[in-house]
Subunit: 196 residues, 2 copies
DNA sequence: GTCTATAGCCTGATAGAC
DNA sequence: GTCTATCAGGCTATAGAC
């Protein structure tokens, strides 16, 4: 929010682009991604479809750009978790970090749960970073993990992401939702509750 | 499978319809629902688009018809669970029944995970039966369930469905997958392992 | 660099002829 | 019952004005 252009060397170029992403997010939230046409975005901006096409070559590029903040945060969480020494710390860091990202960007997640399904948009590959969804599962499962552990890890990621974006819990405040989602992860991954 | 027409009083009418559903399922599995056009279905059948429209008024009707066997089974599970006397029995019956349906129809579930997300196609309303996804959650949560229980139940349904349809576990045999998915549900819902 | 105008091709969907 | 012809609307693409 507050996309202040400040004094960027690129000048007003970012202006239309960010304005476009803003209204795109608004329309996506309102009508879903598939339910939002480029025409609607163009009309809301007061420009033509071709003007939209100039900034983003495809509709998917717009969706990716909208999702980027959340994916970027999640990527940082994964990298931080990888740098942890002990395996228990890796799992705990990843779990809490994942839940934080989900809670923080739950509006975004609710959006992508509508059209794609989470495993496709969150767990799959991201622009640049090769499939970092697998990296998340690798850390959670561990080197000596069996099938049971793999199923549990998979269910944890899917359950947390889908539940975090569920409209039923949209009114819950961040802290409460985070605590309950953490509980889901801890039950499935067998991590004890941290002393606070 | 083995859609034997047998001797139906309606004559050869069912023939084209079932043939259509068969190829539709095949194409859906291959390219996803959104990725399959009516043109592709018509071409694969050797007919025109309008011929397809004669049997199904809309593309969604085809998808619903393809998903119907699984939804029908799930509905029976819910009704059976409702008839159970004690609440623990209701939860156990629903959990095992849900896992059974997921495992049995995992190809179908994998299909709908791709385009909709499970909570939209499995948990939402079904032709005729009003939103029976809520009925599932009601039973799992129970009359005196708090928010923590609601989040756990939601995560259990989502986690089981998405994990059951995940391609990573497609090669697993039914019994193994069922056991691990049951474990997920038991951990989240706090049900002890049944003595076998 | 930024946008308008226009067009191509495909989709789901309808109306009406055999 | 089945198909031809046709429609409005979607995304993608190019040409050219400022």
């Amino acid at each position: 929010m507050t996309a202040g252009p400040a004094t960027v060397s690129t000048g007003g170029q970012e202006d239309t682009r960010t304005r476009l992403l803003g209204t795109a997010l608004r329309l996506f939230t309102e009508h879903g991604v598939e339910g939002t046409s480029l025409q609607m975005i163009a009309d809301a901006l007061g420009v033509t479809k071709a003007a939209v096409y100039y900034h983003f070559k495809t509709k998917n590029e717009i969706a990716e750009a909208v999702a980027e903040p959340g994916l970027k945060e999640l990527n940082e969480v994964v990298e931080e978790a990888t740098r942890q020494r002990r395996r228990g710390q890796q799992v705990d860091h990843l779990l809490t970090g994942f839940v934080d990202v989900v809670v923080h960007h739950r509006a975004l997640i609710a959006l992508f749960n509508r059209d794609h399904g989470v495993l496709r948009s969150v767990t799959k590959s991201w622009a640049g970073e090769e499939n970092f969804g697998e990296r998340i599962l690798e850390i959670l499962i561990g080197p000596d993990g069996d099938v049971n552990r793999a199923v549990a890890a998979h269910a944890a990621i899917a359950g947390i992401a889908l539940t975090g974006g569920a409209p039923e819990f949209a009114e819950l405040d961040d802290d409460t939702l985070r605590e309950h989602l953490l509980d889901v992860g801890r039950k499935l991954l067998g991590r004890p509750r941290r002393v606070s």
